[in-house]
Symmetry: C2
Subunit: 341 residues, 2 copies
């Protein structure tokens, strides 16, 4: 299995990406193609004397799409950008999955325009793995689509169902629809119409869930449009930072509290590990013809390593074939005439 890694994007590029790739080829039984500036990659690789060079190859792609560039323009103009080259390779079968920590918009654009959608999927969506009280759960769409129709959300649910079955071995993932109240009648126009349609679908729809249910983790798949998903994801991130800072302050105030910290050191480490997004890998882009993963921009080597592991699972459990089959089992035409929100 060959994983394509765009080494040019992200806060810690390319060193974290290359460190993770060197570790992955020796531990995960995968081959890796490092895509980016060849000289930079070679110089980074030279730091590792004894790496499995037989499993790592390099493809020269010197252009970079920065976070400030307009994605569609950049992808169309910069033919030698690492993310564009990776997408072409993925499409042509020169790799089994791709991973990028760079500009999210550029990755989404390259995935849509170059890799293409699964037949029947109207809009691919980003899934974010959240560290809930009951373990990792999927929020979909976490930011790819801002204006959605009910059918899009039904498809997100369906894709999330397949992902959680295959990657986390959950028999019948509980699918919740994010709304402003648990009752069926609650919601904006989009969620109300989506609720009605979801009841007839071949997945375990448990109804509306509220914001406070998200981190409780009672739903394996939490469905919303990408605007709401992005706001949820970033609200959780922001609150995590704030509370992390407060806890740090709490323990560093006096000698007395510093002493207290020593006593709970192991528990703090456990707590941090539980909340550590890095362990969960990146955000799978579901609905494309081939596996695409968006790693967090601030990923370090551990996060990239976990995302490579996730990419391997994505391929090995054949999520994409699962989505195609699930799609064939859903009658999405039912209720479609009411889709205009």
């Amino acid at each position: 299995m060959k994983i394509l890694v765009d080494v040019m994007g992200g806060d810690n590029a390319p060193s974290a990406h290359i460190e993770a790739s060197v570790k992955a080829v020796s531990e995960l039984d995968v081959d890796i193609v490092l895509i980016g500036d060849e000289n930079v990659i070679k110089s980074e690789l030279s730091k590792y004397g004894d790496y499995r060079a037989d499993r790592i190859s390099i493809v020269h792609a010197p252009e970079v799409i920065s976070n400030h560039e307009e994605p569609v323009k950049a992808v169309k103009r910069k033919k030698d950008a690492s993310v564009v080259v990776a997408a072409h390779m993925l499409k042509n079968g020169e790799g089994d999955a791709m991973l990028s920590m760079g500009n999210t918009g550029a990755l989404l654009t390259a995935a849509l325009l170059i890799v293409g959608r699964i037949k029947g999927i109207q809009r691919p969506a980003l899934g974010a793995i959240l560290p809930t009280a009951k373990g990792p759960k999927l929020l979909i769409d976490a930011g790819a689509n801002t204006n959605c129709k009910p059918e899009n959300l039904v498809q997100f649910a369906m894709m999330g169902d397949v992902y959680m079955r295959n990657i986390y071995n959950i028999d019948s993932p509980a699918v919740g629809l994010v709304s402003n109240g648990e009752e069926e009648g609650k919601g904006d126009d989009l969620t109300k119409k989506t609720h009605t349609r979801m009841k007839d679908m071949p997945f375990n729809f448990i109804g509306n869930i509220e914001g406070r249910d998200i981190m409780e983790g009672n739903s394996d798949v939490m469905v919303c449009d990408g605007f709401v998903g992005n706001v949820i994801l970033k609200t959780i991130e922001g609150m995590g930072h704030m509370i992390g800072d407060m806890i740090k302050d709490m323990f560093s105030q006096t000698i007395r509290t510093k002493l207290g910290a020593l006593f709970v050191m192991n528990s703090i480490k456990d707590f941090k590990k539980k909340m550590d997004y890095r362990e969960y890998g990146g955000a799978p882009l579901l609905g494309c013809r081939r596996p695409v993963i968006k790693g967090h921009g601030s990923s370090d080597a551990l996060a990239v390593y976990c995302a490579i592991k996730q990419a391997k699972m994505f391929v090995a459990t054949d999520v994409i074939d699962g989505i195609s089959k699930k799609l064939a089992a859903c009658d999405l035409t039912k209720g479609a005439e009411e889709d205009n929100v």
Copy 2:
């Protein structure tokens, strides 16, 4: 000044409400009308031998609207429900502000149908006070309106500006628009159109803010539609609970960690106090002709007391007159033709 307190709604009704009212009349220089079942109220009051009976009066309103009732129907049918009686009294000038911890929908309905809107305000909105890293900030709309137009959001911003000026003495409150990216081009149709309109308004619009900015507290007023606001508010609540539980677990694992807890006890108390929503009072409903406050359903006596204090400020600083004047200063017709989202 006379505050109308609906004592029949909320998890701790009526005891918390009456305890808070007894305290408020002795400390805050306000009169209070307790609205609910007279016998229940009298029996509760009898527990306080020495309260300022001259400042407390009772209005008998025996009916209750539970959390499971359909708000509009319930408000129209139950003429003797405490929230309905309170709203009529507020409208008729028999009180200066009203406070309810009960069914949110019923309170919103009573406020809209009975108290009425400020002339020119299309939709009153709920403001939630969030305990951010930079102190209390206002999220508006926190749940009153699920399907909004740009003009609604512009009015929410305007009302939030007045509230934060008056209640928190902020000279020129920074107004942020919640979106899925900081750049002007980011957002769904609603936020994009709202962004354009906000630039011309007489308040300090600082542009789009993201979910991660919410708890950082760089905006005094954070504007969104009520669907998104409800999801944000409840996500924050849920995450707060989860982390609170985790911290409790962290300290109660072993004798060693319990010992550690003793060392940081004071810091934990400070931390809890900072995150304590009770201190901030309830959620003001902005845009009605008279001051209406929604207290949290789980309010205890401290929370109700703080909400009474807040109601007093709401009246004393004349927020409603401020909103009318601000509205007169805004040319809301500009760009209104593009309001169809």
